[in-house]
């Protein structure tokens, strides 16, 4: 049994807005073993990005605990530089996440500079080493991001996250903005790095095929809640939550032979995360919904080894 790198206990983030309380992250319990990848999937507005930012304390959580290596980082106010250095993030947009006025070297060295790690020579050495790891030519050190293409920019993003030798990296849709051929390069890079350094990833994405490719376990989110949590093979082979099932069948598969297969489309669109009604949040769109779905006592139930769902009508 591997040791748990990161665990969230009843993590909650509510946003107070004029229209009501947005339940962005609602009682999320997750744990990620060391060296593995947890994929978090969901559609836009399901709170997956907020979850990632809460874990890194970029957004203060409303309540709950975040245990990193067994210690609750929220207790120390999350200001401790220890955690900052060991937990990093890779952002989605390789265009807006890089300051256009900084050179590639400065961008990658920024974490070292802000944390005053080492002398100038040491920094240079580190940056050069990491540029080599992510496949950026040394001559690019003086370039500005606008001179580079999306793939190289995202390599900078990866390098910036890795330069501090983190234990845990939140990847917030790191390949969504890239073309498929570039996307594959970056995914390979991230998996290589994981194997070499034993980094733990939390991989946030809306793309099910990507998440299947890179993750060990997968959490499916809907309107702020985790509705299904299972090992990858289990989830794709036997989805038990109706939403997961619908999500899987909605993904277009590049295989003409599968085209004739009947698809199970769900009706309607994601409802608002503002002051949601008690009970199952998927119920309004769910083909199996019954009145008991609206009972407020719905929690996660174990339906198999490491397989949990939040549903009163699990599929077979």
């Amino acid at each position: 049994m591997k040791k748990t790198m990161l665990e969230t206990v009843d993590l909650v983030k509510y946003f107070d807005t004029k229209n009501g309380i947005v339940h962005a992250v609602d009682h999320v319990n997750l744990s990620i073993p060391e060296g593995e990848t947890l994929g978090v999937v969901g559609e836009s507005g399901c709170g997956k990005s907020t979850l990632g930012r809460c874990i890194l304390n970029l957004i203060p959580a409303t309540s709950g605990q975040i245990l990193f290596d067994g210690k609750n980082i929220l207790e120390r106010g999350g200001k401790s530089k220890d955690f900052r250095q060991k937990m990093q993030i890779i952002f989605q947009d390789p265009y807006s996440s890089l300051d256009p006025r900084q050179t590639v070297f400065n961008l990658i060295a920024e974490p070292l500079k802000t944390n005053r790690m080492g002398t100038k020579a040491e920094m240079r050495e580190k940056v050069e080493a990491i540029m080599d790891t992510v496949g950026l030519a040394p001559r690019l050190a003086t370039a500005y991001p606008h001179e580079l293409d999306g793939g190289r920019r995202q390599r900078i993003g990866v390098a910036r996250a890795l330069v501090m030798d983190p234990k845990f990296v939140v990847c917030d849709e790191p390949v969504s903005a890239l073309d498929v051929s570039i996307q594959a390069q970056i995914l390979n890079l991230m998996m290589d790095v994981q194997e070499e350094r034993g980094i733990t990833y939390m991989f946030i994405t809306h793309d099910l095929s990507v998440v299947k490719h890179i993750s060990h376990a997968i959490a499916v989110m809907y309107l702020g809640e985790v509705v299904e949590l299972a090992p990858k093979e289990e989830l794709f082979a036997h989805p038990r939550h109706p939403y997961t099932k619908a999500l899987l069948s909605a993904v277009p598969i590049p295989d003409p032979a599968r085209r004739t297969m009947e698809r199970q489309l769900i009706k309607g669109e994601v409802t608002s995360p503002v002051d949601p009604a008690p009970g199952c949040r998927f119920a309004p769109r769910c083909p199996y919904a019954t009145p008991e779905c609206l009972s407020p006592s719905l929690g996660m139930t174990e339906v198999g080894p490491n397989h949990q769902i939040r549903c009163c009508h699990p599929l077979d």
Binding site: R53, L56, L58, K81, R84, Q85, Q88, I89, F91, Q92, D93, S96, S97, L98, D99, P100, R101, Q102, T103, E110, P111, T114, N115, T142, A143, Y144, E147, G157, R160, M164
Partner: protein, 307 residues
């Protein structure tokens, strides 16, 4: 074609170089920069060409209201002072007042706007509401009130102009910073532990600098106009110092017979403020990536349309 593309890839200049290149290729920008350059030169050389005590403020009633001649290029005013010398010194005074006001106002607005944008919430609301009050008074009247209340020392005129410029500059700084704060790189910097000062100085200000410079350049024009306005009302720079607005109002009496006496200073005011505004415009175009290089493209478009 290939060599071109190669040179394009070789240069690693920052954004400043691109802006300069774009400005240089813009005729209007070049003309306005030349005009501004001449005005600056005039105000530096004023001392060399004319002596302030004897030629600019000393009265010579015997030679009043002479028409332009070789000796007096712009003629003389009603007190027999050389109009050309006075115009040159007036340029210097206007530019000094404008520069100091713009400089002080910009520095202050970066501090206030920065506080407002970074802290947001109640601090932001209070600052914005106070600025709303200042903006509610028509700007000319605001300057008049301040100068009337404090007196027309040069320092007070500068103060009045600073108060006048501040609200809109603060708003520009604030909105620019807020727009840039939406960018993910700010969050990226926070995620590696950068504090507010580092984010402000290293990331936000350099990225907002361009837009602030545009407003600064345009503020020069506003200052030149406003200095002339209060001068015209007789509450500007103290007599006998020459000042465009005041010279114009003094010349009003004689405009029937000596129309050039009001034409010349008005023309100077107009040229100076237009030049600064056009430069600001060009700067804005140069910084807009959508428009970068639009001048050359325009030529091509024309060439094709003719075909």
């Amino acid at each position: 074609m290939q060599t071109k593309a190669k040179t394009k890839k070789q240069k690693n200049h920052g954004a400043a170089y691109d802006i300069w290149r774009s400005l240089r290729s813009n005729k209007v920008a070049v003309v306005s920069m030349v005009i501004i350059g001449i005005f600056v030169l005039i105000s530096i050389l004023a001392d060399v060409l004319f002596d302030y005590e004897t030629q600019v403020i000393a009265q010579d009633i015997m030679n009043d209201l002479q028409s332009p001649s070789k000796e007096h290029w712009f003629g003389t005013d009603s007190l027999g002072r050389d109009y050309f010398a006075r115009m040159l010194y007036a340029t210097r005074i206007t530019l000094i007042i404008s520069f100091s006001s713009v400089f002080i106002a910009t520095a202050l607005s970066i501090v206030i706007g920065g506080i407002s944008a970074y802290f947001g919430g109640i601090v932001d609301t209070i600052i914005m509401r106070i600025l709303d009050v200042f903006l509610a008074v028509p700007s000319t009247l605001l300057i008049i009130c301040i100068v009337v209340a404090l007196g027309n020392e040069t320092v007070y005129i500068i103060l009045a102009l600073v108060v006048y410029l501040l609200p809109s500059l603060v708003r520009t700084v604030r909105s620019e910073l807020m727009i840039n704060m939406e960018n993910e790189y700010v969050e990226a910097a926070r995620s590696v532990g950068a504090g507010p000062f580092r984010i402000m100085l290293i990331h936000l200000l350099p990225n907002s600098f361009g837009a602030i410079m545009v407003r600064c350049t345009m503020s020069f024009a506003l200052c030149i106009l406003s200095t002339a306005c209060i001068g015209y009302l007789g509450i500007g720079v103290r007599a006998p110092a020459p000042e465009w607005g005041r010279m114009l109002s003094e010349a009003q009496e004689y405009m029937r017979l000596h129309p050039y006496l009001i034409t010349i200073p008005g023309f100077f005011i107009m040229i100076a403020s237009t030049a600064f505004n056009l430069l600001g415009d060009a700067l804005q175009d140069a910084m807009d990536p959508r428009l970068r290089g639009y001048r050359k493209m325009k030529k091509k478009v024309f060439a094709r349309r003719k075909k």
